[in-house]
Symmetry: T
Subunit: 69 residues, 12 copies
């Protein structure tokens, strides 16, 4: 794995149900155009509120992937 170079991009996934689902939605969208995604980490967990309930979760992730030859 030595001398590989990775790129990190920042995305916000949303979901009406869970934090985990919001992350997965971001990964699903990213994997349409990025091959070889390797890892992510969560940088922010927010949400919008509708009539006193969580309307949807907004989870910001940074996503690392191999820059391919």
């Amino acid at each position: 794995m030595a001398d590989h170079v990775y790129k990190i991009v920042e995305l916000v996934g949303t979901s009406r149900t869970t934090i985990e689902d919001a992350v997965q939605n971001a990964l699903t969208k990213a994997s349409e155009t990025i091959r070889s995604i390797r890892w992510f980490y969560v940088t922010e967990t927010r949400g919008y509120v509708e009539e006193g309930r969580v309307g949807y979760w907004q989870v910001t992730i940074k996503l690392g992937f191999t820059i391919e030859e």
Copy 2:
């Protein structure tokens, strides 16, 4: 929306089940007295442990709402 002013308050919601439920419990309690809650973000996720298991989750959120006329 311009020239609106929002207030931010900080709450800790708790739940025996999930992080999402702890956040919702804080929102439910806040919406008893605050109308027009708009958004929140999570600032800390903690928990108490009972006999080696998560006894309850304690999730701190900051909550933004419109200061009404």
Copy 3:
């Protein structure tokens, strides 16, 4: 409770399903050797990606427990 001393250790729990489960896995492993765990807080939420999906969650927690006599 005054004059008690607590120790804090840092663990990473993993899970294929949820953030909460990753935390519980870390607590379960820790409670094999540490009695009287009292609280934890989450310091990082990461994950590895396999074919565009969360392969497993990696949640770092700090765990506080009483140093017993």
Copy 4:
């Protein structure tokens, strides 16, 4: 001034024109109900974008005031 106690509250002011104006709008609203505001500091500067231009600035401040007798 010794032994005074101050309270700090967090507000978001908005403005279509400048950062300074967004701060002033928050102060103006706060001073309708809070006497003796003493100082503020900026904790976040954000904005919403409309057709490639700053639609309005959203500036979060913390505001300190004397708790009066």
Copy 5:
């Protein structure tokens, strides 16, 4: 304790003598209007200087209390 909701407020206590006394002064003032204060943590320790000596300490705390039924 599960499903309780706590509110966190931010105060600055001052004292001519010690950091501990500045914190206690903030708690004393807060407990005039807030029942069931549970915990606090220090977020900033400052002071004003008069002729080369600490004139008074200004200690900022966040204070958590149960939102009562």
Copy 6:
């Protein structure tokens, strides 16, 4: 808005006049290639100095936009 995914990119705008103008310059450049920019936040405010005066402001922003279908 649920289940939308946003991308965040980081830009530095510059201006000889104001912080606000530096931000607008970054937005103007970004909107040449990115449709549907939604929000930004300021992460750093710097400047270069020429003969004791601010030569130009350099303001770093993170910019969020909808990943379109």
Copy 7:
């Protein structure tokens, strides 16, 4: 001193009286099992409140000591 290796552990000391005493209590407990403690730094100062007064201080420190041959 070159090529020494130090280990850092994290403890919470408590005291009913002062911040300094809480730190000393953590050091006293640690020195029962760790020889050659060298330095510490404070990472958090908290406290529990009993009837409007500081019930006890909880001070988190990181503690460095030489790993002995």
Copy 8:
């Protein structure tokens, strides 16, 4: 430019009008005694409030300059 050494000093500029003016005031004062100031960055934006309006802005900057031969 290689092997140059720069010094960084921290100043607070004030102004009754704008954040930019407060920065310029700090630079103007600094350039009375420091030649070859190169860059600055803003570390804090505060202000004092007089009767519900911003009385003056207090902007803290770090200022870099070449240590001359």
Copy 9:
């Protein structure tokens, strides 16, 4: 240089030898597709361990470049 706009991207370079080499590897890869890279700063220094030795260094950098006309 006024009114230029810069973009910042985040990369992870790896190397079996040094931190400096890991940074250079990221720059070399980036310069295959980005002209006019101007500066970088290090945001994280990590590494993987193989049999008690640093297997390879992983250094995360943010990289700024001029958005060309």
Copy 10:
């Protein structure tokens, strides 16, 4: 007070007794050469350990003073 410029310097005071005394020692030394010190804030609280006890406290402060005409 408008248009004043303040300088901030960083000092470490030490004391065998208390945190407050370490701060005062730094102020006393600084006031030998700096007139018109106005405020300080604590940025780090450390200490050296001698035979399981706090040998001396090392408290880092930033100190603000008026740049005089």
Copy 11:
């Protein structure tokens, strides 16, 4: 790799020559007692100065390893 639990410990390695060597010295010492060290990251880079030169580097790392069955 799912459901593994990792422990993180914090060490300071020192070296008279390079940052990389200080990290390796910490790893070498740690691997005397810890099997299966997996990764590390640098949290602080300090040094002591002797007669105007770096006497030795002190690099703090956090070190992750698998808790073995």
Copy 12:
């Protein structure tokens, strides 16, 4: 060592070769005017890029020294 007071200053050293050399260059320059430098820590590691290679490293350090009688 008790009751000593230290001053901390911030410098940026540069080098075409290594991070360590950039730090040493800052120390060498500082020791021309400051006696009894004691320690430093690195606060930022940056660099300028020339044709896809690190042109020179810019390493910011804080430097502590005894204020002599």
